[in-house]
C-alpha cells in the first residue's frame, strides 16, 4: 500500500502532498521536513532509496526521483515493490508531461487541482489502480470536460443573470 506521495522542490517548498491515511497538518509538515532534510543531503547519481523507518515508522520504504527542480517522493510499505514504484513515479511524471506539454515546476504550482486529479486516477486509497499514462490522460480529460461543463452553467449564474436583466 502506498502511504504518501509528495512533490517538493529543491528549496524544500512542498508542491504536492498526499497522505493516504489521515494525519494532522502539523504532522504532515513535520514529515515533509524530515524527508526534505534527508533528500537535500544526498548526492546526485546515488540510489533512489531512503531509509524511511526513522521518519515514517516501521514497515515503510521510500523511493524518490529527482527531476529538474523537483523531487517526487513515494512512501509505501512492504507490499509494494521498490522498482515498480520507481516506475510508477516515471508514469506520474510522464503523465504530467503529457498533460502540460513539457512540464515544469510552475505547471505543478499553478495546476493544483489538476495534478491532484492525475494522481487520484493513478492511486486510489493507497492502491495503484492505473499504470497507463494514456488511460490516465483519457480520464483526466473527461473529468476536465465535466468540470468545464458544470462551470459553463455557472457563467450565467442566477445572481449574474438577475443583475443583467435588471
Amino acid at each position: 500500500m502506498i502511504k504518501a506521495v509528495m512533490v517538493m522542490n529543491t528549496q524544500g517548498k512542498t508542491r504536492l502532498a498526499k497522505f493516504y491515511e489521515y494525519l494532522p497538518v502539523e504532522k504532515q509538515q513535520e514529515l515533509l521536513r524530515g524527508v526534505f532534510a534527508v533528500l537535500c543531503s544526498r548526492a546526485e547519481n546515488v540510489s533512489n532509496f531512503i531509509d524511511a523507518e526513522s521518519i515514517f515508522g516501521p514497515d515503510s520504504r521510500l523511493v524518490y526521483k529527482h527531476f529538474a527542480t523537483l523531487y517526487f517522493v513515494f512512501v509505501f510499505d512492504s507490499s509494494e515493490n521498490e522498482l515498480a514504484v520507481l516506475d510508477l513515479i516515471q508514469v506520474f511524471v510522464e503523465t504530467l508531461d503529457r498533460c502540460f506539454k513539457n512540464v515544469c515546476e510552475l505547471d505543478v504550482v499553478f495546476n493544483y487541482s489538476k495534478v491532484h486529479t492525475i494522481l487520484d486516477e493513478m492511486i486510489f486509497g493507497g492502491q495503484v489502480v492505473e499504470t497507463s499514462s494514456s488511460e490516465i490522460m483519457k480520464a483526466v480529460e473527461e473529468i476536465s470536460k465535466l468540470e468545464a461543463a458544470s462551470n459553463a452553467i455557472t457563467l450565467i449564474p442566477k445572481s449574474a443573470s438577475g443583475w443583467r436583466s435588471r
Binding site: 500500500m1 512542498t14 508542491r15 504536492l16 502532498a17 493516504y20 489521515y22 494532522p24 497538518v25 502539523e26 504532515q28 509538515q29 544526498r42 548526492a43 547519481n45 546515488v46 540510489s47 533512489n48 532509496f49 531512503i50 531509509d51 512492504s78 507490499s79 515493490n81 521498490e82 522498482l83 515498480a84 520507481l86 516506475d87 504550482v109 499553478f110 493544483y112 487541482s113 491532484h116 486529479t117 487520484d120 486510489f124 486509497g125 493507497g126 492502491q127 495503484v128 489502480v129 492505473e130 499504470t131 480520464a139 473527461e142 473529468i143 465535466l146 468540470e147 461543463a149 458544470s150 462551470n151 452553467i153 455557472t154 449564474p157 442566477k158 445572481s159 449574474a160 438577475g162 443583475w163
Partner: protein, 940 residues
C-alpha cells in the same frame, strides 16, 4: 440573489490569484496567507455555492501546501458537497478527504451524500465518492454503505469495478462483517480476465494476506493460476507477494510454486519482477537449494550493475539470503567489500551489514581492526554505523565469537577514542558486562581503563563520559590488578573531572574510595605478614611476570599490589610507601574537600563517606609513618581492623545478576532488619557539617590550584614511567601491536595530548583490498588450533541471558477480520476455526513426504481424494470428523461429474491445473451453502 453574494462572487479571488499573490510575497508570506484566510472565512459562509466552493478550494490549497488546519470548514464542505454541479462536488470531496477523520463531528452527515453519489449514473461522481470512502470510512460508513459497494463490485464499468475492489480493503478493515457480504464477489473477480480488475483484486488480497496470511490459504489455487498465466508484471509482483506470505505456512504449497517462480526468474525481462522473484525465493523458499542458487546468480547480476538502485537491492537480497546461506555472501564478497567505499550511503550501510554477517570467531579481530581503521576515515554517520555494528556483532549471544577477550577489551578502548564515536553507552555496558562475566580479562580491563582515565583530553568529550564511567568503575572494582594504584587515584581525582556529569562523578568518587582502601590495606594490613596475596593467584603468569620485570628495573620503590607481590616484605616497611600513602590521603582531601558543598546529593554523600574514612584512618597513618616500625601496637591495630573491614566489604566479587534474582532470595533466618547500627554511628559521628568546610563550591582559585597540582603529578609520573603512559597507548594504536618495547624517547610535553592519533593509513581502497584479502583467508575453514589460548569462561545466567527472546511467540492473530474471512472460506460449521486451522497445518506438515494416500485431512476435497477415495477414507483414523465426511459426499459426486465433463479440456493442462479447475467449480456450491468447508485440495 442578494447584494453581498453578488459582490462576493464578482470580486472573489480565485485560487490562481492566491497562488500568484503568494509567489510575489517573498517576505510577507505569512501575512498574505492570514489575510487570504480571513477572506476565505468570510466567503465560505456565503450562500452562493460558487463562492463557497472557490473559498473551499483555496482553503484546501492552503491546508495542503501551507499546513493550515481546515477542520473548521467541515460543515461548509458538506454544504458544497450537496451541490448538483460536478465541479463543486469535486472540490468538496477533495477538501473532505484532506481533512475528515474518525472523530470529525459531521462525519455521519456525509453518509447520504456518499450513497447518492455511489448510485449516480456519472461514473466520475461514483469514483469521487468511492475515493472519499476509501479515505474516510469508519465503522458506521462502512456498515451503511456496504450494499452500494457490493453492487459496484460487479459493475460492468471496469473503471468503477476496480475502484470498488480497492475500496473493499478499507471497508473490510473498518467493518469486518462486510466480509460475509462482499467476499464472494471479491473472489469471483479473481477470475476476471481483465488485467486491471485482476490487478486491483490481487492488490487487495496481497494487503489482506500481509495481515493474516493463514486465512487466505484456501485461495492458493486461484493465486497459482494467476501466477502461471499472468503476463502483467504488476499482477505477478502482487501474486508473488501473496505467495511469499503463504508458502512458509504450507510446505506443499512452497513445493508447488517453486518451479513457476524459477521459470519467471529465468525468463522475465522486467527488473522489478525479477527482484520480486528473488525476494520471494530468498525469504520464503530458502529450503530449495536450486532455487536459491538461481536467485543468488541473479543477485550477482544486480550487484555488478551500474545502476545503484539495483546494486542496493541486490545487497539487500543478499542480506536476507545470508541468514540461511552464508555461502552466497562469501561468493560475492569482493563486490560486497568494494561497496563499503561506494559513494552511496545506502550501499555502504548495506555492505557493512553483510561484512558483519561474514564475521566468525576466526576473523573477527582482523575484520574489526580494518573496520575500525575504516571508521576513523569515514563521515560521522557511517563511522557510528560501523562502530555500532561491530559492537552488536561482537556482543551477540554473550560474546559468542570472541575468543581473545584481552584483544576485545582493548578494541573497545580504542573504539571509544575515535573522534566521532557516539556509541559510548554501548561500550560502557560491554566493558562492565565483560568485567563481570569474564574473570580472566580483568587485568587487561584495568589496563585499558587506566589508559582511558589517565588521558585528560577525553574528559572534554561528552560522548565519552559513559565510557569513562565504566573505566572508573572497572579500575575501582578490580584495582588489585592495577600496576600502579597511585596513578589511578590521581587519574580519578584529576581536576578536569569537574567536567563530568554528577552521576558519573559519583562513580569516580566511589572508585577512588575502593582504590584508597586497597592501598591502605596493602600497605598496613597485608604488608609484612601476608606474602601470598590474593592478586597473585588471580594474575595470569604473563602479566605478573612483566610486572615483576618492570618493578625490578624501574620502580623498585613502587607500592601497590604488584610491589607487594614481588617484593613481599620490603614493601610494607619501605618508608616511601608510607609517605606516598600520606600524599595519597592529602590528595584525596584536597580533591574532594570542595565536593562537600556540591549541589548533587550523591556526589556530596560519597565525598563525605570517603573523607569520613580518611578522617578515621589518617591519624594512625601519620602516626605509623612517623614511627615507621611500631605500627602493630595499640590503635594501629584498630585502624587496620577498619581498613580490613572496608577492604573485605569491597573485595566481595560482583557478578552479573539475573533479572529474576530478587525473587529467589528467601529471607534468611538470622536476619534482623532493625539491628542497632552503633558502629556506623561511630564512623559518621566524626563528620562535621559541610558549612564548616573552608572550600566553597566551585571556587575557581582552588580548582586551578588543584589542577596544576595534579597536572604536575601526572607529568611527573608520565616522565618517570615514560613507556607506561599515553605514549605507549599511542604507539600501540598506531602500530596495532602490543607490548612493543618503546624505542621512542619523546616526552609527553603537552598537557592534553590529542585524544586521537593522526591517521597514517593509506586510502580507503587499500583498506578494502586489505579486507578482501582478510576475509578471503578467514573464510577458508581453519584448523581449530588457530588461537593460542583457550577461550576464557564467560559467566552465563541461563534463564535470563539465553532465552530472553523465547518470550515472543507467534500469536495467532484472531481478530474479527480474519475471523470473518475464515468463516466465509471455511464455513460456519467448522466449529473453532483456529483449531481446525492448526490441526490442518499440523497434519500437513507431518505428512510432508507427499504420500497423498495417507492424508487424513478431513477437509480435503481434492480430485486425488475423489479418485482413491476408497483407500483413503478407509485409512482414516480421525473419527471425530465423521459428520463432515457425511456432508461431503454430495459434493464429491459433483466434483466427479465435473471431472468427467471437463476431462478433455484438462488433458493438456498440467495436473495441478486440472485439480485447480475442479476446485473452482467446487466453489460454486459455496454460493448456495457457504458452510461447506472448502479447503485447498490443491495443496494435497
Amino acid at each position: 440573489m442578494s447584494g453581498p453574494s453578488l459582490m462576493d462572487s464578482l470580486f472573489q479571488r480565485s485560487l490562481e490569484d492566491i497562488i500568484k499573490g503568494l509567489r510575489q510575497q517573498l517576505i510577507g508570506e505569512q501575512a498574505f496567507i492570514s489575510k487570504a484566510l480571513e477572506e476565505i472565512r468570510k466567503e465560505i459562509k456565503s450562500t452562493d455555492l460558487s463562492t463557497k466552493s472557490t473559498a473551499l478550494l483555496k482553503l484546501s490549497y492552503l491546508s495542503n501546501l501551507h499546513f493550515h488546519d481546515l477542520s473548521f470548514a467541515a460543515f461548509h464542505a458538506l454544504e458544497v458537497l450537496s451541490s448538483p454541479r460536478f465541479s463543486h462536488k469535486k472540490i468538496a470531496y477533495h477538501a473532505i478527504s484532506l481533512s475528515f477523520h474518525d472523530s470529525t463531528p459531521v462525519l455521519l452527515l456525509i453518509t447520504n451524500h456518499l450513497r447518492k453519489d455511489l448510485n449516480s449514473t456519472n461514473e466520475f461522481e461514483v469514483s469521487l465518492s468511492l475515493q472519499c470512502l476509501s479515505r474516510i470510512a469508519n465503522v458506521d460508513l462502512a456498515r451503511d454503505l456496504t450494499p452500494e459497494v457490493f453492487a459496484l463490485l460487479s459493475s460492468n464499468k471496469l473503471y468503477l469495478r476496480k475502484r470498488a475492489v480497492a475500496v473493499v480493503l478499507r471497508v473490510f478493515e473498518k467493518y469486518p462483517d462486510s466480509v460475509r457480504v462482499c467476499f464472494k464477489r471479491l473472489v469471483e473477480n479473481l477470475e476476471n480476465s481483465d488485467p486491471q480488475i485482476l490487478s486491483a483484486v490481487v492488490g487487495v488480497f496481497s494487503e489482506l494476506a500481509c495481515k493474516d496470511p493463514r486465512s487466505y490459504l484456501p485461495l492458493a489455487p486461484e493465486f497459482y493460476k494467476i501466477l502461471v498465466d499472468s503476463k502483467n508484471n504488476w499482477i505477478s509482483i502482487k501474486v508473488l507477494k501473496i505467495f511469499s506470505k503463504l508458502a512458509p505456512l504450507e510446505p506443499r504449497l512452497a513445493k508447488r510454486v517453486v518451479e513457476p517462480i524459477c521459470d519467471l526468474l529465468r525468463n522475465t525481462g522486467a527488473k522489478s519482477l525479477l527482484f520480486e522473484c528473488i525476494r520471494t525465493v530468498v525469504t520464503s523458499l530458502s529450503e530449495y537449494e536450486s532455487a536459491v542458487r538461481l536467485a543468488v546468480g541473479k543477485v550477482r547480476e544486480f550487484l555488478v550493475d551500474e545502476d545503484p538502485n539495483l546494486k542496493y537491492l541486490g545487497l539487500q537480497a543478499l542480506r536476507i539470503v545470508a541468514e540461511k546461506h552464508l555461502w552466497a555472501v562469501s561468493e560475492n564478497k569482493e563486490v560486497v567489500i568494494k561497496s563499503l567505499s561506494d559513494g552511496d550511503p545506502n550501499i555502504k550501510i548495506e555492505s557493512l551489514r553483510l561484512v558483519m554477517a561474514m564475521v566468525s570467531e576466526h576473523n573477527v579481530s582482523e575484520i574489526s581492526r580494518v573496520l575500525v581503521n575504516y571508521a576513523l576515515k569515514s563521515d560521522p554517520v557511517f563511522c557510528n554505523e560501523i562502530l555500532g555494528s561491530i559492537l552488536s556483532t561482537c556482543s551477540r549471544n554473550l560474546y559468542e565469537i570472541i575468543v581473545d577477550f584481552d584483544w576485545y577489551v582493548s578494541l573497545l578502548g580504542e573504539m571509544s577514542r575515535i573522534p566521532h564515536c557516539q556509541t559510548g553507552e554501548e561500550i560502557e555496558n560491554q566493558l562492565i558486562d565483560i568485567g563481570l562475566r569474564v574473570k580472566d580479562v580483568r587485568p587487561e580491563l584495568v589496563r585499558v581503563a587506566r589508559d582511558l582515565l589517565i588521558d585528560p583530553a577525553l574528559l572534554g568529550n561528552s560522548f565519552l563520559h559513559s565510557v569513562l564511567s565504566a573505566a572508573a568503575w572497572a579500575s575501582g572494582e578490580y584495582v588489585e590488578f592495577s600496576r600502579n594504584p597511585l596513578e589511578l587515584m590521581e587519574a580519578l581525582l584529576q581536576p578536569r573531572t569537574s567536567l563530568l556529569p554528577s552521576s558519573i562523578r559519583t562513580v569516580y568518587i566511589q572508585s577512588a574510595f575502593k582504590v584508597l582502601v586497597f592501598c591502605l590495606h596493602t600497605c598496613f594490613v597485608r604488608g609484612g605478614s601476608i606474602v601470598a596475596s590474593a592478586s597473585l593467584n588471580n594474575l595470569p603468569a604473563g602479566v605478573s611476570a612483566s610486572v615483576s620485570y618492570e618493578s625490578f628495573d624501574e620502580f623498585s620503590v613502587e607500592n601497590g599490589a604488584d610491589a607487594s607481590v614481588v617484593h613481599g616484605q620490603t614493601c610494607a616497611s619501605a618508608p616511601i610507601t608510607k609517605e606516598s600513602i600520606v600524599n595519597l590521603l592529602n590528595l584525596v582531601e584536597l580533591a574532594l574537600g570542595p565536593l562537600l558543598g556540591s549541589h548533587d546529593v550523591e556526589v556530596q554523600e560519597r565525598a563525605r563517606n570517603l573523607l569520613g574514612f580518611i578522617d578515621l584512618t589518617k591519624p594512625e597513618v601519620l602516626n605509623s609513618a612517623v614511627q615507621e616500625k611500631d605500627d602493630s601496637e595499640g590503635k594501629g591495630v584498630e585502624t587496620s581492623k577498619i581498613i580490613k573491614l572496608m577492604h573485605d566489604a569491597f573485595s566481595k566479587e560482583l557478578g552479573p545478576v539475573s533479572l529474576s534474582a530478587q525473587g529467589k532470595v528467601s529471607l534468611p533466618d538470622g536476619l534482623k532488619l532493625k539491628e542497632n547500627l552503633g558502629d556506623l554511628e561511630m564512623i559518621c559521628g566524626d563528620l562535621e557539617p559541610p558549612s564548616s568546610n573552608a572550600f566553597s563550591f566551585g571556587s575557581s582559585y582552588e580548582q586551578k590550584d588543584g589542577l596544576s597540582f595534579s597536572n604536575l603529578q601526572i607529568k611527573e609520573d608520565s616522565e618517570q614511567t615514560n613507556e607506561s603512559t599515553s605514549l605507549l597507548a599511542e604507539h600501540r594504536k598506531r602500530h596495532g601491536l602490543y607490548y612493543l618495547p618503546s624505542g621512542k624517547s619523546e616526552l609527553v610535553s603537552n598537557d592534553y595530548p590529542p585524544a586521537n592519533d593522526p591517521i597514517l593509513q593509506g586510502d580507503i581502497d587499500d583498506n578494502a583490498d586489505n579486507l578482501v584479502k582478510l576475509t578471503a583467508e578467514s573464510l577458508v575453514p581453519k584448523r581449530k588450533s588457530n588461537h593460542g589460548k583457550p577461550r576464557p569462561v564467560v559467566v552465563k545466567l541461563d534463564e535470563v541471558d539465553e532465552k530472553h527472546v523465547a518470550m515472543k511467540k507467534p500469536e495467532s492473530r484472531d481478530d474479527s477480520l480474519s475471523g470473518a474471512v475464515r468463516d466465509v472460506l471455511f464455513g460456519c460449521e467448522d466449529v473453532p476455526p483456529t483449531l481446525s486451522q492448526s490441526n490442518l497445518s499440523n497434519k500437513l506438515s507431518s505428512k510432508r513426504k507427499g504420500k497423498e494416500k495417507q492424508h487424513t485431512d478431513p477437509h480435503a476435497e481434492s480430485k486425488e481424494n475423489v479418485i482413491d477415495d476408497g483407500n483413503s477414507s478407509l485409512r482414516r483414523k480421525d473419527r471425530s470428523h465423521g459428520k463432515e465426511r457425511r456432508h461431503r459426499s454430495p459434493r464429491k459426486k459433483n466434483a466427479e461429474e465435473r471431472k468427467e465433463t471437463n476431462q478433455k479440456e484438462k488433458e493438456k493442462s498440467r495436473r495441478h491445473h486440472g485439480r485447480h479447475k475442479s476446485r473452482q467449480r467446487a466453489e460454486e456450491p459455496l454460493k448456495v451453502s457457504a458452510q461447506t468447508p472448502v479447503i485447498p485440495d490443491f495443496l494435497l
